[in-house]
């Protein structure tokens, strides 16, 4: 099914509206700071930014309980890490490759994982994270933890066979997993419009899964859809596929010249989910423009502190490169019986 109408902000508990807005601001402030540092030449590797995906990330993250697992996917990941509860300084440190990151610098922006917060790292070979997500869900089902897994992917990843296999396994075993497809219409440059399928959530239909396509620029719509799917999964109702239609406001990575964009593509400023949610909240009398500016300034300050933390943190000792390859001793070796 398609949810065309955006739910009314007034129907939303005030605290939920607040936390959705906070999460969106946190993501934007974080990525703006990361962009600035990348331009300074301070951040190693590629940089993929979330601009345009904030509402989708916030709506999804806020719909999850703290012990639910998030297996991140797609290419716009920072916001997903943050909504799962990774503090900005730790996330920034990992993006810098510093030892104070959750992965101690071995993951970076594409692989940030936080076991204690039930954040599974990204399968950076796009589309390979959905089967591990099914497996985490199977572990929850077999251990009867009551936890649910949310797994994200972009439009590009849905063309991988591994994605479809994951849906088959999830449906066959009624696993407590929610697959969220963030469709920003571009797999780097390949336009999702070229795909023959009407909406990407329809991939769940042959497997008799509940499916839904929502406006991913509306955090309230995403929150409602993911909450319903999480509740269904938690109560034994099995998996769901949700398409969250978003706009990719920037290039695939910083430095992408985007020759493939046409003039008819959505104007970035009009598509900005942060400003449109801000305007809705102002219109609903929930917040004033001045209050918004003050709150946003606080997040900008926190993002600057995160950058300072990352800059001041040490790189891992070079010997750390040889840690974590094997759990040692191997079974049966001296002292190795478990």
């Amino acid at each position: 099914m398609v949810s065309e109408s955006n739910p009314d902000v007034d129907d939303l508990p005030r605290e939920t509206a607040d936390v959705l807005l906070d999460e969106m601001m946190r993501i934007r402030a974080f990525d703006d700071a990361a962009l600035e540092q990348f331009r300074e030449g301070d951040v190693p590797g590629f940089l993929h930014l979330c601009h345009g995906h904030e509402a989708s990330h916030a709506g999804m993250g806020v719909a999850m309980a703290p012990d639910d697992w998030l297996a991140v996917g797609g290419s716009r990941l920072h916001g997903q890490y943050l909504v799962k509860g990774v503090p900005m300084p730790e996330a920034m440190a990992e993006i810098y490759g510093k030892e104070t990151g959750p992965n101690r610098g071995k993951g970076g922006s594409m692989h940030l994982a936080d076991y204690d917060r039930h954040l599974y790292g990204h399968a950076a070979t796009i589309g390979s994270g959905q089967n591990p997500a099914a497996g985490i869900a199977l572990a929850q089902q077999m251990r009867e933890t009551g936890n649910v897994v949310v797994s994200t992917i972009g439009d590009g990843g849905t063309s991988r066979g591994s994605f479809h296999t994951a849906l088959v396994f999830a449906a066959t075993w009624d696993l407590p997993v929610v697959y969220v497809i963030e469709n920003n219409e571009f797999a780097i440059s390949y336009d999702a419009e070229n795909l023959p399928i009407e909406q990407l959530s329809d991939y769940g239909e042959p497997l008799d899964m509940p499916t839904e396509s929502v406006d991913g620029s509306d955090p309230v719509a995403v929150h409602e859809a993911v909450s319903a799917a999480v509740d269904r999964a938690r109560s034994g109702g099995g998996p769901t596929v949700i398409e969250s239609r978003v706009t990719r406001m920037r290039g695939h990575f910083e430095g992408d010249k985007q020759q493939y964009r046409t003039e008819t593509d959505a104007d970035a400023s009009e598509a900005d989910p942060l400003t449109s949610f801000r305007d809705r909240l102002i219109e609903a009398g929930h917040i004033t423009a001045a209050e918004y500016d003050d709150r946003y300034a606080e997040f900008e300050a926190k993002a600057r502190e995160a950058v300072e933390f990352a800059q001041e943190s040490d790189f891992p000792d070079s010997e750390v490169a040889y840690d974590d390859i094997y759990e040692e001793p191997l079974y049966g070796q001296e002292g190795g019986d478990r």
Partner: protein, 322 residues
């Protein structure tokens, strides 16, 4: 001690570990009522139910990929591939995901999972069902790669693989599944990452596993009284216990590395290089390698027999060191 086949030994190992630890489950194509491709899971679903001996849709991506997540989530899956060749159809999971997630996470994730997959040639099944793949996965740091040569090894090593906190790629040999041997009646496990000196000798060291182990033992018997052959079974190829092999060569001064992997970038070259680099002056003769020539495994029985090393080839290689 009771005489059992490798299939029976594997089944006992699975049975005992399913009994011992409720986090263990067996999962794969046809592991349930069908009883496994070689009979290795016969009767287990009846005993433990269809949740713990779990049939899957046909997808190695799903079998290995979900097992990775289940291991992170606190289970200890034994994921079966009907043939080790099919590791390639789960290439991303087997190469990019499973052996790397523990490392990438900075040690936050432990992956106590086993991929159980019969490998090797000799069952007349053609090029896509006959490969020896332990060099592929041995080339992926993060995977513990184990081969089984006897029923004793098969049971003791599989139990250890299931209890180990690493991802283990466990490879019995397709053509040895019916091979019988003595298996202790009491509970036992064997250490991972340690080679076994299966036959002591003074004149030459032969390193071999699986089918090649049995052919090396035959060669050693044939030479007895003339050349005193020491046979070392690496058991675990990754990480490789090079110390036991080097110690043997320091004693014998000669080395023959025999394996069913192709000679081009196979395990033989790595074993020889480890000893040459560290113990060059122990050698009385150039080390020799025996393996599959650089060809896919053919179907026709005489052709398959041609490319798989036989006892004669091992004998010839041993003689070349004198």
């Amino acid at each position: 001690m009771t005489e059992k086949s490798i299939t029976e030994a594997l089944r006992e190992a699975l049975d005992e570990e399913l009994q011992r630890d409720e986090r263990v489950y067996v999962v794969g194509e046809d592991v349930g009522d069908f009883g496994g491709n070689f009979g290795e899971t016969q009767g287990l679903q009846e005993k433990y139910g269809d949740k713990r001996v779990r049939d899957t849709p046909l997808s190695e991506i799903g079998i290995t990929g979900h097992a990775l997540g289940a291991a992170v989530g606190g289970m200890r899956p034994v994921a079966e591939l009907q043939f080790a060749d099919f590791a390639a159809t789960a290439g991303d999971e087997m190469v990019n995901q499973i052996p790397k997630m523990g490392y990438i996470s900075g040690g936050q994730f432990t992956l106590p999972m086993t991929v159980l997959a019969p490998s090797g040639a000799g069952i007349r099944s053609g090029a896509q069902h006959s490969q020896s793949v332990h060099a592929w996965m041995g080339n992926q740091p993060g995977f513990v790669v184990v081969t089984a040569s006897t029923p004793y090894d098969a049971k003791g090593l599989l139990k250890s693989a299931i209890r180990d906190d690493n991802p283990v790629f466990f490879l019995p040999h397709k053509n040895l599944m019916g091979k019988k041997g003595e298996v202790p009646d009491e509970e036992y496990t064997l250490p991972l990452g340690e080679a076994a000196v299966e036959r002591t000798g003074e004149d030459v060291t032969v390193v071999a596993t699986q089918q090649m182990f049995h052919r090396a033992m035959e060669a050693a018997e044939q030479l007895a009284g003339d050349i005193d052959v020491e046979v070392v079974n690496p058991r675990t190829f990754a990480p490789l216990d090079t110390e036991t092999i080097r110690e043997s060569v320091r004693k014998t001064g000669r080395l023959v590395a025999v394996d069913e992997t192709p000679l081009r970038y196979g395990t033989q070259g790595y074993i020889v290089s480890e000893v040459v680099s560290n113990d060059f002056f122990s050698f009385d003769a150039p080390p020799q390698t025996v393996g599959v020539e650089d060809t896919p495994i053919p179907f026709s029985p005489p052709l398959e027999d041609e490319v798989i090393p036989d006892t004669e080839e091992i004998l010839a290689a041993i003689r070349r060191t004198f």
